[in-house]
């Protein structure tokens, strides 16, 4: 039966109006604007007729197709005079030094055809031992930053060096003659040569004084040490000799003093194996979940104002003294337990504190003295020279500037207008200085307010040296000619002080007079210089006076110190704010580096932003959105303190006490360049300057809803393992009893009578595939979850080695980040199968609750995940064009030129490690990052293809390095030595968590790791048999904590 229903498009059709009937006859409702696109009014008069048009069309089509058939002409332009040491196609490595006011590292720079393309740690360096962190790894891209200025500038216009030099020398001379002050405001100078050059300068201009300012201050430690030892020193720490580590608000693995060194030392105490079944115990007392805190065996969350109280309580409980203190909001028991345990570790313990409050640091020194840490885990004879900033001097400098007594100010290595809490005051004072010179490489916040910018060269373009600690020297050499008309600070200062010396000669002469006489091994200075240049490092024996025997002097009144701490804590009101530095962004000096912007923060996994971190429950109470997701926008809040206010999105952060918020420094740049400007907000203004110290913990902050919505781009939006065994974990006690603890075989019930007693089998025994022997090499990778601290250096190392594009915030938000490796971070959850069963919770509720991280004492695990190079790879079987195949050496190969972009492989990958090029990320104005610019493209590794749109990509296990290593061995007629081929992630790792090698080499480290009982494969039960495997995480928890 047919329907009689009638559908009509509109009331006009129903009524059949004449207009409608008329229109119905026409194809288009309105007359087409033919004239508009034919355009030319004289077209009718034109002598060009249709035939001509067709002729032209035919001709151009033919010409175009003929042209397409012609061989494209590609030029090859050899050197005119080839430097002897360069062979095109072969990389050269140069030892150099990285120092940017935050991170010191002796480095090895890889150059290809004269361009530096990769920075890695120098293994000869006893401090970093070949390790590096994300900021050091990324520093090579900062070299190719198009926001750097092309040459010296005055009042926004480019001038020549001659003109700049002339004006500066004239004004400096005038200032010195008039007796007016000249100041050099600099970040800590660790270069002996730069120090000498400044001395020369001060001799030439007698009114010169140096003011040291670090964006993150360690003055509290130095002053506390001064109270004890009479010298404002920062000692060095041996975490590797500590069996019991207590960190009070100190992120020593990622940000504090010398994080790479600490990470390496720390990891060495955390590794366990059949031979070494001991590990250090690490307690973290902190307010904001840091990288260090997330690695702790026990973490105690306290409010920032109670950090000092915690230190005093620990001292009291440990020594039985009764310094004035307060209660610790229910955490006093925990402190007592720690104190009890600590007593057993005299001489093997280490207590560190990240506070910049000298009173708290005094208490910490007292604790360490009581524990006998000095000269065992803390060394006062070898001092750390990298952070000597003094904010008090900066403050009085501003006063001097305002008084008009300063007529010249040179600013080097810092950006006070941006990073000072009173940056605006500094900017105002700057206008009162006649000559202000910035050495910044760009017209940043400070430089643009200066009268002249005399751009410093990038450290990869400069000669440099460093003396970061007693007895240790590092030499830096240029690896490329300056890209712009920049000149290194050393040369500028020499020039202005009238010494016409080249930087290299000057450094050599300084070394000849200072470093060389302390060494005895080499017969001539030129030999010594050559060797130092080659090695990059020089170690001389020049231990200073060891101060471990000094007892607590009368001057240090611990009672008074504790009194001040308690009084300060009592003053705390309202919400407390912690201003901290992120592992990637640091103090924001490299903010214009897209690699660092896109590096997910180890803890929050958020890229491209800073944000307000807040306790989960508190957020729920206030009705803020706690879920991160593509379509879930975060609520914004206004954080206010006095006249300073910022509006930022708010993010739920487990592990934070209620009433505390935290915001990262380094964002909200306004003049750093196109990548950094406008990302996040600057919170330097919240740093409190009190009694000559910067305080990064602030109370009395108000947080109010600002009714805004904001999209944060996070790479991980689910936070727990939902009861699955993705990261396997056990405790040290369990591990001692049974090495396979926490890593029990997963058995499947089968009906096969042949397997086992009752037909139960492991995934490996159940197999559809034929076995296959890897005759030559069998490349395997082991990742020790006990060593991995989650810092993210490997991610940057991988991006740098493999030309991984930066995609920008919007694409990351759409889960289209291209990083070949990610570091998964999982929080513990209070809900698990057993609890659900005992409480009778249904399946849906159970899983919903599983996704909520533990409210208190949250535990964190990190797991780096890259392509697992499955030997029974699910991706390979579904590719319709065989673009992903398996090699005889066990690698899962990805062939870009064969890929047609069906994405079946990514869908079938259980590990979700495949990345699809949704766009062409290179030479595309929409992705205006380093791969769009000629300059930024210079960082690309020429041995790795730059992928185009529509193809899949993934970790190749650095196959280019494998091939290079194999070729080298073949040429030498030998098998590759274990460890001679390293993947980029392995090389970048500061803790040696990643081991790579040939499984067929029975002596190889990776083979040994395979035989470790802690070994397991990710999602073993899927039967993919990956070549990448993990070692169980072991926590040193005692019985009641476990």
């Amino acid at each position: 039966m047919s329907t009689t229903k009638k559908y009509w498009k509109g009331i006009e059709e129903l009524q059949e109006t004449p207009e409608f009937l008329n229109l119905q006859q026409n194809e288009f409702a309105e007359e087409l604007p033919v004239d508009e696109f034919l355009g030319d009014e004289n077209l009718v008069d034109s002598s060009t007729n249709r035939r001509d048009f067709l002729k032209f069309l035919g001709f151009s089509v033919t010409a175009a197709s003929l042209a397409a058939c012609e061989t494209p002409v590609r030029k090859a332009i050899p050197y005119l005079n080839k430097p002897e040491e360069i062979t095109p196609g072969v990389a050269n490595y140069y030892a150099s030094t990285h120092w940017d006011g935050m991170d010191f590292a002796s480095i090895l720079v890889k150059t290809r055809e004269g361009r530096p393309i990769k920075v890695d740690g120098n293994e000869l360096c006893p401090i970093t031992q070949g390790g590096s962190n994300a900021r050091v790894q990324a520093s090579v891209l900062s070299l190719y930053d198009s926001s750097r200025i092309a040459g010296p500038m005055k009042a926004g216009a480019e001038i020549s060096w001659e003109a700049a030099d002339k004006e500066i020398i004239e004004k400096l001379t005038a200032a010195a003659n008039q007796g007016k002050g000249i100041r050099i405001l600099t970040s800590t100078v660790i270069s002996p040569s730069l120090k000498a050059a400044i001395e020369n300068f001060a001799t030439a201009y007698s009114t010169t004084k140096v003011v040291t300012y670090d964006s993150f201050s360690y003055k509290g430690i130095a002053e506390a040490n001064k109270a004890y030892f009479g010298k404002a020193i920062i000692p060095t720490y041996s975490f590797d000799k500590a069996d019991y580590i207590v960190s009070i608000g100190c992120d020593f693995l990622a940000n504090w003093l010398s994080p790479v060194e600490h990470a390496r030392q720390y990891a060495s105490t955390r590794r366990v194996s059949a031979e070494k079944k001991t590990m250090s115990r690490h307690i973290q007392i902190e307010s904001v979940l840091s990288v260090t805190g997330s690695n702790a065996d026990k973490r105690i969350a306290v409010k920032p104002s109670q950090i000092g109280i915690a230190a005093v309580s620990l001292y009291n409980k440990l020594t039985g003294s009764s310094l004035p203190t307060k209660s610790l909001d229910g955490k006093d028991d925990s402190i007592s337990k720690i104190a009890k345990e600590l007593k057993n570790y005299t001489g093997k313990a280490l207590v560190v504190c990240g506070s910049n409050d000298p009173e708290i640091q005094k208490i910490v020194i007292a604790i360490n003295q009581y524990l006998g840490s000095y000269s065992t885990t803390i060394h006062t004879d070898i001092t750390d020279n990298t952070h000597k900033g003094n904010e008090e001097e900066v403050n009085s400098l501003i006063e001097e500037m305002n008084s008009g007594n300063i007529s010249a100010l040179l600013i080097h290595g810092c950006n006070p207008v941006y990073s000072l809490p009173f940056g605006d005051k500094f900017k105002a004072a700057l206008s009162k200085v006649d000559l202000s010179v910035s050495f910044s490489d760009r017209a940043d916040e400070t430089a643009s307010a200066c009268s002249i910018i005399a751009p410093d060269s990038h450290f990869l373009e400069s000669w440099s040296d460093a003396n970061p600690r007693t007895g240790y020297f590092s030499l830096g050499q240029p690896t490329i000619q300056p890209l712009f008309k920049s000149r290194q600070v050393l040369s500028s200062l020499l020039k202005w002080s009238g010494a016409e010396l080249d930087a290299h000669d000057f450094i050599a002469s300084v070394w000849e007079n200072t470093v060389y006489p302390s060494t005895s091994s080499l017969k001539s200075f030129s030999d010594f210089w050559q060797k130092s240049l080659h090695d990059g490092v020089v170690i001389i024996n020049s231990a200073q006076e060891d101060m471990n025997e000094v007892s607590i002097p009368e001057a240090v009144d611990l009672n008074k110190a504790a009194g001040i701490i308690s009084a300060e804590a009592a003053k705390s009101t309202g919400t407390e704010l912690v201003v901290y530095t992120k592992t990637g962004m640091g103090d924001g000096s490299q903010a214009n580096n897209p690699w660092l912007q896109e590096l997910p923060d180890p803890i929050s996994k958020v890229t491209w932003d800073n944000y307000v971190m807040m306790n989960l429950d508190e957020m729920m109470e206030k009705g803020f959105n706690t879920i991160l997701g593509q379509e879930q926008k975060s609520d914004t809040v206004e954080v206010k303190l006095g006249d300073k206010a910022v509006v930022l999105p708010v993010l739920a952060q487990p592990g934070m006490p209620k009433g505390v918020i935290a915001i990262a420094l380094g964002y909200g740049r306004t003049a750093a360049g196109k990548t950094a400007d406008g990302v996040g907000a600057n919170v330097a203004g919240f740093i409190q300057y009190k009694n000559g110290y910067f305080h990064y913990n602030v109370s009395g902050v108000s947080v109010s809803e600002s009714k805004g919505k904001y999209s944060l781009a996070a790479t991980q939006t689910h936070h727990t393992m939902m009861g699955r065994q993705i990261v396997k974990e056990t405790t040290l006690e369990e591990y001692k009893k049974d090495a396979k603890a926490g890593n029990e075989d997963i058995l499947f019930a089968t009906n096969l009578k042949t397997i086992g007693k009752d037909g139960k089998a492991t995934a490996k025994e159940l197999n559809l595939w034929d076995s296959f022997e890897n005759k030559n090499h069998f490349w395997n990778m082991s990742i020790d979850l006990n060593s991995c601290i989650g810092c993210g250096a490997c991610v940057i190392g991988c991006s740098s080695e493999n030309n991984v594009p930066v995609v920008g915030k919007d694409e990351v938000r759409r889960s289209r980040e291209m990083h070949w490796m990610r570091i998964d971070r999982y929080y513990s959850s209070d809900m698990n199968e057993e609890v659900a069963e005992s409480e009778g919770i249904g399946a849906i509720d159970k899983f919903l609750k599983m996704e909520v991280p533990s409210s208190d004492d949250v535990e964190v695990v990190f797991q780096p995940v890259m392509c697992q190079h499955c030997n029974h790879a699910p991706c390979e079987t579904v590719c319709p064009v065989l673009a992903t195949t398996h090699s005889l050496e066990g690698l899962n190969q990805m062939t870009y030129n064969r890929c047609i972009g069906t994405r079946y492989c990514a869908n079938n990958c259980p590990y979700k490690v495949r990345r699809f090029n949704w766009f062409r990320y290179n030479e595309n104005a929409q992705f205006d990052f380093n791969m769009y610019e000629d300059l930024g493209k210079m960082v690309l590794n020429p041995d790795v293809t730059v992928r185009s749109r529509g193809v899949m990509e993934k970790c190749s296990m650095c196959v280019q390095r494998i091939q290079e290593g194999k070729l080298k061995s073949k040429k030498n007629g030998e098998r590759p030595k274990d460890g001679s081929i390293k993947t980029a992630c392995q090389q970048a790792c500061p803790t040696n968590a990643i081991t790579f090698g040939d499984f067929n080499d029975t002596e190889s480290e990776v083979r040994k790791a395979w035989n470790n009982e802690r070994k397991y494969q990710l999602l073993e039960e899927v039967g993919t048999q990956p070549s990448v495997f993990y070692l169980t995480k072991v926590r040193n928890k005692n019985a009641e904590e476990a």
Partner: protein
Amino acid sequence: MHQFNFRISLVLTMLIMVFFAPTEGFSQDGAKIFKGNCASCHKPSTQKLIGPGLQGIRDRWPDEAKLIAWVKNSQEFLKTGDAYANKLYEQYGKSIMPAFALSDEEVIAVIDWANKGGDAPAPAATADQANTGGVSTDSNAQADSDSYFLVLIGIAVLLIILISVLGSVKRSLETLVNEKKGIIVEPKPVLSPLQKFKYWSSQNKKIVAIASLLLVSWVLKLGWDGLMGVGVYQGYQPEQPIKFSHELHAGQNQIACVYCHSGVEKSKHANIPSANVCMNCHAYIQQGPNYGTEEISKIYAALDYNPETRVYGNNPKPIQWVRVHNLPDHVYFNHSQHVTVGKIECAQCHGPIDSMAVVEQYSPLTMGWCINCHRETEVKFEGNDYYEDLHKKFMEDSDYKKGDVFTVEKIGGLECSKCHY
């Protein structure tokens, strides 16, 4: 007639063989050492280059010990105050012959070889063609198949003529017979050729079907070949900014490839030599046999070098050579792997460079071509510890059969990630 054609083809083949045969072989040690060390300054004839021609050198140096000492370290030898050596030194503009780390035997081998004027032009088909042999055989094979094809076409044409002649003879004979018998043959209706063809095709549908099928296949094959040829630039022979002749340098002067292409043994790139390498010889040789000073002066212009005053200026301009061999960006090719480890001769891929005045792309450089070679080439495992165990495992493999070759394919030479990453 057939025999006649065969004879022609035979003669053609011989001619081509003679034409393509290598002019010289160079397998003796003396020749090799000479090319590696001496050829840039000396010729194995009486002709002078930077240094004197070496033919008859024994007559000039009666004392062989002195000669050896002179060759090994000329500067040291000059200090002995030898009159003849000092005379030579003065005569050749005080250009210093570098010291060579050669053994006495090697120096003697060079002198032996050069004294007799190098290799006398070798007869065409001697067994002594070790190095260029592979190439010449290939070109002979190519020439052979070409000539056979021509012969076949010739035969076909002759057969067609024969058939038509026989046909017309048959028709005339039939007419004659019919006339004799008095049969009057009605003249056939006059049809246009097109109508004839239509009529014929309607009567012979099977033939038409087969012919159409063949025609379509042929057109498709042409199209396929055309498409497969897109991006293949075999025979590409661009004009270079300087008319550098490999025929002269590598052929006549026998400068070893590695002398200029110094990266070939250690890098992925063979390297186009930098201009300072040219100047090793052309600081002295300012005139060439082909273009006089014209082309050589372009090197000087690039370096801003004044040959009269021998002074370098400060306005050098790089030479923009045109790349002859272009691989796509997604291909990783490493010369040192093939030359140092694989011990492949340059000529295998680059062809008879020593006879090319202007270099052309000799091989197709297609992936199929690479893969074929990887399938066929045996791994040079002897004396290389890297391959020792691997080769043993290959031999012990249960699938191994006698006659199996340990080819590059067997160790993964066809895998994607060997060349694409």
